[in-house]
């Protein structure tokens, strides 16, 4: 019986590690929603672009990982700015649902363009990190690194938003869109900056994901839905809610996957989400 327990503990701890990663993925989306009031349905596709960037820079052009990863983060940050400038800006005044749909069009485009450019085969970075053994349990080092980097990203963003002038401006805009322009904060610049920041967070997520998973054009579909649902469950725009929701979801997936098949873990998590929406439609934490 105690063998059973140790594996359950392993599943719980792995869920914790997964939670860190999911928290980072939902953070960027949450930031953008909180500030610009737009949901990027294509957020996971930006992550996919970042994964391809790391893969090609490292494998094709033989850049070391410590150079390829920052470059990938930069690339996705620029993609985020382009997305805002050319796709979001023209529909900012349109109905909210149009903003959701327009980024859905971008999702189609990025996924198909990736298929066209890179082919449908799974690409592996070829970096294999050892498993870390603690007692009877084993954890992948990639997951531990991802958890650490995700924690650093979350703390970094928190410090940026609370301690710097720009961060304060971003928070101010998200609280009152009408007054802040009168106070000398330019919403257009804050939006561009936020899009870059959201893109950079997607890029960081990409660097961590590419260590653990093969990259292929449809990978966004396996991370996208769960990322939105985490944001909605936490209360769109609420960072703290998103963090907690990420860990709750990760436990459902990990422990559910331990008792049943991994898909059932997801089914339970999604069913929990639907049930929670009816109990607290505004999310766990209302902004």
């Amino acid at each position: 019986m105690d063998v059973f327990d140790i594996f359950l503990l392993e599943a719980v701890l792995n869920g914790l590690l997964l939670g860190g990663l999911l928290a980072l993925l939902s953070l960027g989306l949450n930031l953008i929603f909180g500030v610009i009031d737009v949901v990027w349905i294509c957020y996971a596709e930006l992550i996919m672009c970042g994964m391809y960037a790391v893969y090609y820079l490292h494998v094709q052009y033989h850049w070391p990982l410590y150079a390829a990863m920052p470059a990938a983060i930069l690339i996705v940050a620029v993609l985020g700015m382009i997305l805002h400038q050319f796709v979001i800006k023209p529909v900012l005044a349109a109905e909210p649902i149009n903003q959701l749909l327009v980024t859905g069009g971008v999702l189609f485009f990025l996924q198909a363009a990736a298929t066209l450019a890179f082919g449908i085969d799974f690409k592996n970075l070829g970096v294999s990190l050892p498993a870390v053994r603690i007692g009877e349990m084993s954890f992948s080092a990639a997951r531990l690194i991802a958890f650490g980097a995700a924690a650093a990203g979350v703390i970094g963003l928190f410090v940026f938003l609370n301690k710097t002038y720009l961060g304060t401006a971003i928070r101010a805009i998200s609280q009152d869109r009408a007054i802040m322009p009168l106070m000398g904060v330019s919403p257009a610049r804050v939006y561009t900056l936020t899009s870059a920041l959201g893109g950079a967070l997607a890029g960081l997520g990409a660097c961590l994901l590419v260590l653990q998973y093969d990259v292929h054009p449809a990978i966004g579909l396996s991370f996208g839905p769960i990322t939105f649902l985490i944001c909605v469950l936490g209360g769109l725009g609420s960072m703290a809610g998103g963090l907690i929701a990420a860990f709750v979801f990760a436990q459902f997936i990990s422990v559910g996957g331990f008792f049943f098949a991994i898909e059932w873990g997801y089914v339970i998590a999604f069913a929990f989400f639907i049930a929670m929406m009816f109990i607290r439609p505004q999310g766990l934490f209302r902004r």
Partner: protein, 309 residues
């Protein structure tokens, strides 16, 4: 005589046109659902699974699938409407529903074949082309007739909803729910009726699709991808006109097939790449879709024409 390939295209345009029309019943009234993949999947899988595992004819499977769809639609939609989950939130809750159904089909792989999909057991004996009991027809003409009938039915329902009192009520709701409720519209009931009709129609679309293709796969009949396909097909064609969804279906299919014939299979995703760019353009510059914009242009031409004469 028309060859098999054009017939196949016509069948697919009408079938998807019917499914898109079903979706647009809700979409045009402000309920953007990403959950219709679930209804289509339930229709397709219920019928095929009952036939394969219990030998139950689709004639029995279809009512079961419809009942199941109705239950799922009400269980999800009633609380959504009751608690005023609208806009983004409605879209994302229904998105979760699509993913749940897809994952359930994958997870029950011992029965459904998982991601590999499943094929209904063949019922056509050598020499026959029609098996009415199993709803399997080898003649494409039969299928054309069947999907044409359903497509007409879809348009008729669209018109019925459009002409009915309900539409005015729902339009009022989509613009301002509180105000609509204050003038005595039963918001929840009005929304639920349209949702139920739309879900059941989509479910029959799923059944027809499975029986026509004789193959079901979690990714091609359910999940986020197929739900988005419906949403965007309708947007491309035009959400607010009767034939808009059909135009959308024809446009997307002909674009894909045209590029495939033009370039062969050298560029496998060229059609979706172009399609994605066009969707973004549509939403930014032409939110009424192809048919909607064309009708507007035609009307403007006629107005300026009468003014000159």
């Amino acid at each position: 005589m028309i060859g098999n390939y054009p017939l196949h295209l016509m069948i697919l345009v009408l079938l998807w046109g019917y499914i898109y029309t079903s979706w647009s019943l809700m979409g045009r009234l402000g309920m953007v659902s990403f959950g219709h993949g679930a209804f289509m999947g339930i229709g397709a899988y219920t019928v095929v699974m009952l036939w394969n595992h219990f030998g139950l004819s689709p004639w029995i499977g279809a009512p079961v699938a419809l009942a199941l769809t109705a239950v799922v639609a009400i269980v999800i939609a009633y609380p959504c409407f009751r608690f005023k989950i609208v806009g983004h939130y409605f879209a994302l809750v229904t998105l979760a529903l699509s993913e749940v159904t897809r994952l359930v089909f994958v997870a029950m792989r011992d029965h459904t074949g998982g991601s590999l999909g499943a094929t209904p057991n063949g019922a056509l004996i050598e020499g026959t082309s029609v098996a009415v009991g199993a709803v399997q027809f080898s003649s494409k003409w039969v299928w054309l007739g069947v999907v044409f009938a359903f497509w007409l039915l879809g348009l008729w329902v669209w018109r019925l909803v459009d002409r009915g009192m309900g539409r005015l009520a729902l339009q009022a709701i989509s613009e301002d729910e509180e105000a609509a409720a204050s003038v005595g519209i039963h918001v929840t009931r009005a929304k639920l009726q349209v949702t139920l009709v739309s879900a059941l129609m989509t479910c029959t679309g799923g059944i027809l699709y499975a029986q026509y293709q004789l193959y079901v796969n979690p990714d091609t009949v359910s999940g986020i991808a197929i739900s988005l396909q419906m949403v965007f097909g309708v947007i491309a064609g035009g959400m607010f006109v009767m034939l808009g969804p059909t135009v959308g279906a024809a446009f997307t299919l002909l674009l894909a097939e045209g590029l495939r014939l033009g370039f062969g299979n050298k560029y496998p995703a060229l059609d979706t790449t172009i399609y994605g760019v066009m969707l973004v353009m549509f939403i930014i510059f032409m939110p009424k879709g192809i048919l909607g914009a064309a009708l507007d242009g035609w009307r403007r031409l006629r107005v300026s024409g009468t003014m000159q004469s």
